[in-house]
C-alpha cells in the first residue's frame, strides 16, 4: 500500500492516485486536518504500529512507500478530554508532549521506507537555503535582512532597486475587510520617509532584471523545468504568482544549461531534499540567479506546460 499525506483539495495528489491505481497498487490518502488516532504500538517480542484513520486501521508494516505531499502527521487522542478545568489547562501541554513522542516514533519509522518528500521539512529557512545555494556555486541576489534604516540606506546606495519579501511563507490573512496577501513586492522608495530609524526586521534583495523566470521541479536528481515569460506582463514582472488579468504568462518547457543543472542538483543533495520546486531568474546578461526552494510547491503547471507527466513519474517511483 502507498500512503499519501496531502490536503483535501490538492489536485496533483488526485492525479498521482489515478496513476497508482493504474499501476495496480492500493493507496491511502491522509488529508491534513483530518483525525488520526493511534491504534496500538507494540515493542518487545514483536514490533507492531498502527494508526486509525477515517475508520480504517493502517499498519505501518503494510506501507510500501509514502509520498509526503504536504500537511502533517498529527496523532490525537481518541477520547474527548474534559476542557477548561484548571487541571486540564495545566496538564494539556504535557498531553501534547505525550502525543508528540508517538508522532515522532511513527515519523522515524516511516522515514526508513521508500518515500518522496520530507515530513520534517514542510518549509525551509530561506536564509539558510540562500547560503547553501551560494556555497553550491549558484548566483544569488545581494540580500540583507535588517530593521535599521541606516543599514537599508547603505544597501540602497549600491542597489537602488530592491524587492522585499517575507522571510517565512507567503501569509494569507483573512480579515473582515478582505484578504491580506504578502507577495514579493518591489520596494517603493517613497516608503523610506515613513520608516522610522528602526522597523521590523525585513528581507531586502537587489531587484534582478529578468529575461524570464525558471521554475524547476526537482525529483530524485532529475530537473523538469519551465521558462515563464512574466516580464511580458507588467503585473507579474516581480512575482509571477500574482494572476494577470486576461492572458496568462507564456510558460514553456526549458532545458537547464548543464552547469546550472549540476549546481541545482548539488544544492538539493546538500539540503537532503528529494523533491521540491526551485525558482531561478534568467537575466538579460545570460546569468541564472537562484531565488528560493519550495519543498511542497505546486508542480501541476510545470508538468502540464512541459508535458512532463510528473504525476506518472511520482507514481511509478512509489510503486516500483
Amino acid at each position: 500500500m502507498i500512503l499519501l499525506f496531502s490536503d483535501e483539495d490538492d489536485i496533483s495528489t488526485t492525479k498521482v492516485i489515478k496513476w497508482i491505481v493504474d499501476l495496480g497498487q492500493a493507496f491511502t490518502r491522509i488529508n491534513g486536518g483530518e483525525i488520526q488516532y493511534l491504534s496500538d504500538l507494540y515493542l518487545g517480542k514483536k514490533e507492531e504500529t498502527s494508526l486509525i484513520y477515517d475508520g480504517r486501521e493502517i499498519d505501518i508494516e503494510n506501507i510500501e512507500a509514502y509520498w509526503y505531499r504536504r500537511g502533517k502527521l498529527e496523532i490525537v487522542s481518541a477520547q474527548d478530554l474534559e476542557e477548561n478545568t484548571s487541571l486540564s489547562k495545566a496538564i494539556d501541554p504535557y498531553l501534547e508532549y505525550e502525543l508528540k513522542i508517538l508522532e515522532e516514533y511513527w515519523m522515524e519509522n516511516l522515514l526508513k521506507k521508500k518515500s518522496i518528500g520530507n515530513m520534517k521539512r514542510g518549509s525551509l529557512n530561506k536564509l539558510l537555503v540562500l547560503q547553501a545555494a551560494k556555497e553550491c556555486g549558484l548566483k544569488i541576489p545581494e540580500t540583507i535582512a535588517t530593521g535599521q534604516k541606516d543599514k537599508l540606506l547603505g544597501f540602497l546606495k549600491y542597489h537602488p532597486s530592491l524587492i522585499c519579501k517575507p522571510l517565512f511563507e507567503v501569509p494569507r490573512i483573512q480579515e473582515d475587510f478582505g484578504k491580506i496577501e504578502i507577495w514579493t513586492e518591489k520596494f517603493d522608495l517613497d516608503l523610506l520617509d515613513r520608516l522610522g530609524a528602526t522597523f521590523f526586521p525585513t528581507l531586502f534583495q537587489e531587484l534582478i532584471e529578468k529575461k524570464y523566470e525558471i521554475r524547476i521541479f526537482y525529483l530524485n536528481g532529475k530537473c523538469f523545468s519551465n521558462a515563464i515569460f512574466s516580464q511580458l506582463n507588467e503585473k507579474t514582472s516581480i512575482d509571477f504568482r500574482i494572476k494577470p488579468n486576461g492572458v496568462p504568462n507564456r510558460r514553456v518547457p526549458f532545458k537547464l544549461p548543464e552547469t546550472t543543472r549540476l549546481k541545482v542538483v548539488r544544492l538539493m543533495e546538500t539540503l537532503n531534499l528529494d523533491c521540491g520546486s526551485i525558482d531561478l531568474i534568467a537575466t538579460p546578461d545570460g546569468d541564472y540567479v537562484f531565488l528560493e526552494i519550495n519543498p511542497v510547491g505546486q508542480f501541476g503547471m510545470t508538468s502540464f506546460c512541459g508535458n512532463y507527466h510528473l504525476e506518472k513519474e511520482i507514481a511509478e517511483y512509489l510503486c516500483a
Binding site: R250, C305, N307, H309
Partner: protein
Amino acid sequence: MLSATTHFRLFANCVLVKGARRSTIVDLQRREINFIPDTLYDLLTIHERSNIGTIKQSYLPEEGAIIESYFEFLLAKQYLFLCTAEELDLFPPLDLSFQAPGLIENAIIDVDAKSNHDFAVIFRQLEALGTMALHLRFFAVCGQNDLRKILDLLNESSIEDVEILLAYHAEIQEADFIGLAKKYPRISSITIHHAPEIPPFSIASPSFSLQWTSSPIDDHTYCGQIGPRSFAIHQNVFLESQAHNTCLNRKISIDKNGAIKNCPSMSTDYGNIKNTSLHTALQAQGFKKHWNIAKDQIAVCKDCEFRHVCTDCRAYLEEPENSYSKPLKCGYDPYTNKWEEWSGNPLKEKAISSYGLEEILQTS
C-alpha cells in the same frame, strides 16, 4: 527593425499545423487558433534556427518589409520571442506524447422512455475502468427526482465531470437547475433539447453552463456534427490527436437499449449491459479498432489545418464502408478553405441515406 543577429523561437505551446491551402498556429495555452499563410509556415520551419539576417538574405530584398511585418505580428500575439543563438537549444519543442491513467477516459449513457439501466451497477463498472467524464443523454423527459436519484449515485465517485442532455418540458424551472449545479458540483454542463426558440432563462456560472437547443433530439443520430463550435483547442486534445482518435479513444458507451458500444451511433455492439460487463466488452476483439485512427490518417482531414483541434467522428462517414474516410457531417473543404452545409452536398446523399439520416435532416 529587428537586429540581423537575433534568433527567434516559437513558444512551445504555440504549434504550427500546415493545411493544404493555409496553416494555423494553435495556441494551446491561451486556447486560440490563428491562420497564417503557408509562406510564413515555411519561413518559421525552414529557418527555425536561422537569425533574422540570414532569413532576409534568403528572400528577395523587397520582401524584407513583409518579413518585418510577419515578425511584428508574431511578437504582438506573443507567439514567439527573440533570443540568442545559445538559447535555441534551451527551448525544446513541446513533447507531443499522450499518456493517461486508466482504461477509459469518458463514457456516454443514452436513455429514452423505454430504457431500464441499472445506474448503480454501471457507475461502479465505469469507476473500476478509471472513467473521469460521463455524458448522460436523456432523449425523453426525465423528472428532477429521477435525475437526482441517478446523480446521488455519483456522490462518492471518482468520475469527475458529468455533462447532461435533457429534454425540454413546460414545467422546467430556473431554480431546479441552480439547485442541481449546487448540489452536484460534478455537473459541468446541461443542454436542453426540444427547447423553445427563445430560452426561458439563462444561468451564468464559471463552473457550470446551461445551453438550449431547439433541435428535436430523439436519439443518437444528432451526434457527430463537425464545425468550429465542436473544435476543442486544448492541449490534451492536441496531444491525443497525434496518434489517437479524438472522439473514440478511451471511450465506452451504453446505448438506449443497453447495448455496449464504443459510441452509441456505431452499429457494432459488444454485448448488453444486462449480461455483459463493461470490462469484458472492452477486451472484446474489435472494440478498440477505431481508437488509433488519427486525423493524420483520414482522407481529407489529413490535409486540414484544423485536424488537431477537431473532435472527429467515425460513426457517420462519407464512405460508410471506409473507416478512413472523411466525417459525413463535416462541411469544410481544406482545399478551398470554404465551409458549406454538409447535408446539402449532393455527393453525400448516398451516405446520408445509408445511415437513415433523411428524417433528422428534414425536421431540423
